[in-house]
Symmetry: D2
Subunit: 312 residues, 4 copies
């Protein structure tokens, strides 16, 4: 499913089998999955390539300690919750993770907007991309939302879905066929027209569409990983990048269980209430009945306020 | 050529006409071209939207002065050369520029790798892209280089060029036709099929190819602008991004003439010699005849060394 | 009070008087105070040296528009609130400000932790610092807090305050006397001992204490300025840096009134409620009486929860 | 010499003894010294706390490979030299190192200017600093340079050195005595005056001088570590920070031997020649006799040019 070649599978297997002793902090959860390709979408994957530190690295840095820096589990857990709740974010910058990701170009374009990370991308100036493109599954084919200009509405009907998928698939195949033609080579890498050289790779690639897969090494620290997940695991994020964020949440859980728990509690499941929202809350808790018109919140903010508090 | 709509031209004209007094440093060179669309490639442009500081801001910061911080022109010029030559880069971070750029997506993908900048890109999740794609002019259609895996070789022949351009043009048109079809609208924005809603914009866009134009606001400081130009105005950069860098070099010259001059002298026209290269140089200056085999330089480094020094 | 020399005052006056026309966005509020030294603490100041953009630059970037990008004031204001509330922070990176700040070294050490800014500091390797050190006013002399290891408790008594201030003042004077002695010069810059050269400046400075004043040029964007203010205008921040943040809040208000209002509403006066806090809120709004023991919040979080909602 | 307490030594010993298996890349050179305190100056140290990757991580990222990514040693070495020589710096961002550093505050103030790193510093708002301050050894006591405003000249004479050291030592001791007095505690942590609480720690610390030791956890990637070393291992850097850079160079050598070698060759021992310098070189190599007056180089640049090439 992740389309690994035999050679790639062998490389991964070999890397997994080479075990050595270390004095560093070891994360059991990540060692289990190290180097393995976790499938995402139809041809994508995430592989954990390396990591530095774990929950202990966070408390060790917060305490600027000489040893491992960890005390009793309950104290460490409490400290991590406290740090995250109060936005003391620098200790979370002390743990680091490196991923190998295969992803459609339009997802890569959203992803790269997170600048606090290190990236090495597979170069289509230098190499030739594979015939691999993303085609959504029918249940992810949604119409444009009516309420929200930036979002999806209802899933499209079966017949329409078939038509859409046929267009995407045909155009992608043709786009790749012509890419090879411009490069003057066939799928096996053999030259098509003897008499001439192919077009420069850096030019030919412009004929590929945004659903083609690219890949990169991506490295970031725990603080910035959580920033990424706060935005990209959010229901407002586009489904395709959310699929990657979902896998990364699982990785986070295996890597730093206390931080993961605190992140769920104080970021993913939390809500920010504005000054006006807090005033309304105080009145409501004092027994007053408060309507939108009684507040200075915008309609949009009020709707979210009502939804979060599950009041009707 | 830059395909501005009437409304866009009017907006630019109105912005240019609103002149106000300011106590800030004013760059005559940039005021002249402010807001204007300078054409790049077939449909792209660069517009200078705003700027902060000039050559004087560099010396003012280097001197942490109370007034404008500038002394005699010759002293300021000397200081700027000195700072740049010795990689004292922080004073150059004190001037800032903001551009509005329209560029093909594959160029945007290279450009965004420069992380030390602020970016707001036109959103294809939210809005619909125009029927605008980059088609190279025949003299920029080059074959893959034989020596250099990442580069262009000879320009392709006329007949072959015609074939290549036809493929690129036809695929781009079809790619956009189908994009509109997926969105269920025609070029004028009218619905095509009454009975159904179009596909979500965030999905439909994946059918577009990498030569379609996007646009963004891009802001960076003078130091990072020079970093960008050092890499992207270089002959090894891809022609298409170099076309933008070339226009930005002109902008740099209008904005900060002393810094521009120092940048040419100490970056663009400079060369770095390694420890081994310096040893070779010393022997050569002492009258010795030195061949590659007499040094520890790699073949590649030696070739560059010979080329830079124009020795045969 | 800000201890400007005559020459410095003249430099500032001259800079203020040079007015020129510009096509750029002009902030009336900042032009009024441009270059002026706004006093902070006993000898410090903040001066606005330059700026780029205003509220309009935020909406212009959010809309990637061709003209000024602003529409009706109410729409612009709504957009700014929306962006800030939803943490769409990149448009706020499109406005920039540059300050000249004079501040005690121990404040500078906290300040510099905000890395997303550009800094040029007065060099004590190169130049000689002035006899200027910070002495708190008696009402800011607080005892160590008993509840909070990182904070101040009650103001110290008059007699004790006098003793403390005498120690600080005497040590600072002596520290500076010896600094000059090591440099072999007196307050007027004249050599004390003819026969010898003074100690290198980069060494002599180590004898100065952390309350001595330094100064720097500091430049950041609107987004990062708000990040700074969110942390440093907070009651938990040390009084001395808060004094600077307070002045910067006034500057923010003059510069970008809509953003300032949204910042107050959605950052300064807002509160984050964790998943558990929201569960408790829902139960309370449904009429249930909820005690700390009924929740999974830590004692500390519960106390803040109660305080924010003003429930007893 | 590094003044570790018994508890600290035990903590370090315990951390070193806990060895576990890992699938990650292991650097033999760093494992040997992991956690150990390497002395710097009179009371400072550097401890390697953690690391991620090695030379192999650089080539793995440059090749975006599935396995370890390394080929033959000679190819890997060649690639690393090539990448460094051509400023392809992103692969070097893929290896990371974390240090625990104890250093004088005036050194910390220079160090922190390198923003591309993560820092957690020991908090003097929260905790009490130890009676540890830096006193230079006599051979590092230099007079102010006459040629260079930012630098040291000759070493001061024995008698004068004794006087200087006495001033520094006495003032530091008194500074700390009064710090404790303000805190109302003695060296053992016991209260001095029963009737009153001590001054808040965040205030009392301002009486300490800049030679007192602080400590922090500092983490950066290989690319930024080399940037730091290029500037701080340079002869123009202040001796005290150079002492740390020197130890870090040894660490670099143990960690990534190929990168270290390439760094020496293409950074530390390299020189940049400006456009004018290259023109001069070409003429000299063609047999012409070139004087300063025959070029457009500044006097300063010419002097460096002559020194680098060892021509008289």
């Amino acid at each position: 499913m992740t389309n690994l070649t035999d050679q790639q599978s062998l490389d991964i297997k070999a890397a997994r089998e080479a075990v050595q002793p270390t004095r560093r902090t070891v994360s059991k959860g990540l060692e289990d999955i190290l180097y393995e390709a976790i499938p995402v979408l139809d041809h994508g994957f995430i592989r954990v390539i390396d990591y530095m530190g774990d929950d202990g690295a966070v408390v060790q840095a917060a305490r600027v300690s000489y040893g491992r820096g960890t005390k009793k589990v309950s104290e460490d857990r409490g400290l991590i919750h406290y740090l995250l709740r109060h936005w003391h974010t620098t200790p979370f910058e002390m743990a680091e993770i490196k991923l190998h990701v295969k992803l459609p170009i339009f997802v890569a374009r959203q992803w790269i907007r997170h600048r606090m990370a290190n990236v090495n991308e597979y170069s289509a100036r230098y190499s030739i991309l594979d015939r691999e493109f993303y085609i959504p599954s029918p249940e992810n084919l949604a119409a444009q939302s009516v309420q929200n200009r930036q979002g999806r509405g209802e899933v499209v009907g079966t017949e329409e879905a078939e038509r859409v998928l046929r267009v995407l698939r045909d155009d992608s195949q043709q786009s790749y066929d012509h890419y090879l033609d411009l490069l003057n080579q066939d799928d096996t890498g053999r030259q098509i027209r003897d008499e001439e050289r192919g077009l420069a790779r850096e030019l030919a690639r412009m004929n590929l569409s945004l659903n083609f897969y690219t890949q990169w090494y991506w490295k970031t620290d725990l603080h910035n990983l959580m920033n990424f997940l706060r935005l990209r695991a959010d229901p407002h994020a586009q489904y395709e990048i959310r699929a990657y964020a979902q896998v990364m949440l699982d990785i986070l859980k295996k890597w730093v269980p206390h931080t993961y728990e605190a992140f769920r509690e104080h970021r993913l499941e939390s809500a920010i209430f504005s000054g006006e929202a807090i005033k309304a809350l105080r009145r409501m808790l004092a027994g007053e009945r408060v309507e939108h018109a009684d507040t200075k919140m915008s309609k949009r903010e009020w709707d979210e306020f009502v939804r979060t508090l599950q009041i009707s």
